[in-house]
Symmetry: C2
Subunit: 164 residues, 2 copies
């Protein structure tokens, strides 16, 4: 089962693609969609849609995983802008018929690092170590997106392992 | 010049279409897009996209006007969810090549009622009175969307009237 994890943003949107298998998950791809910071919000949303369509064309994910919304944000304006990008992600995933899964931020960290309060560099090192990468994934948005995909893969694996 | 005003929401999205002319603006259409409250967020976003495409097909607006984002909201979670819907609106408008204009909430009220702190029923009565409607537009989302379109029409008219 192929999982696309996405960490939405209007400057950088991180993505990570993994194949969830019975033994250990395989790393397929990771990267960022960089949107033109000088373009208007609406131009960037169209750009994001086009780039996401490209990811679906290239990797054909079965599942698209994103972080859950939470009720309180330090920067409400940034959170609302992120909501615009998240809307485009859910739209494209739904149109493509992908199953959509959402996970709380602390659960994603717990799943990858072992506790729910890991910082960005800890997440990067955990991802580096898991796949024996030469360097930690940069920028941190790539590691975050891969962590979302990993958390999703484990969640789906656990559900499969439960007795019917 | 045809203006489509939109008041985004994930339950109700109000829309209003006017023709901005030199004498007085003409009312073309007003209504709401009702999204299936039992459907998932991503399903509703696809539904919203389809309905918006339908409005662009039917009315061919030159301009799409929405309320500006503001920094503080009473209900951050609702505001972020609204951001998802607003993202879809900006995406569709941009893809359709419409000019996008944004106005602060108090400026919209000022433009229609004469001061920036009007309530919902005041906005509805102002719209009713302007076009001699038998009843105030219902639900209030329709009046709000028409008010956004009106504010936009006046803004564009003023810019035209300025000496070059």
């Amino acid at each position: 089962m192929r999982i696309l994890g996405i960490d939405p943003g209007l400057k950088l949107t991180g993505y990570g693609v993994i194949d969830s298998r019975s033994i250990s998950p395989a790393l397929v791809a990771g990267g960022v969609i960089r949107l033109n910071a000088r373009a208007s919000l609406s131009d960037r949303l169209v750009e994001l849609e086009t780039e996401l369509e490209g990811l679906f064309d290239e990797y054909h994910p079965d599942v698209c995983a994103v972080e859950q919304l939470y009720a309180h944000y330090k920067h409400p304006r940034t959170a609302i802008l992120m909501g615009h990008a998240r809307g485009i992600i859910l739209l494209v995933a739904q149109r493509r018929g992908a199953r959509i899964e959402q996970f709380a931020a602390n659960r994603i960290k717990q799943s990858v690092v072992g506790h729910g309060h890991a910082g960005k560099s800890q997440m990067q090192r955990a991802i580096q170590s898991l796949w024996n990468l030469k360097e930690p994934p940069e920028p941190p948005d790539v590691a975050d997106a891969l962590a979302i995909a990993l958390c999703c893969g484990r969640f789906i694996g656990q559900k499969r392992a439960l007795p019917a």
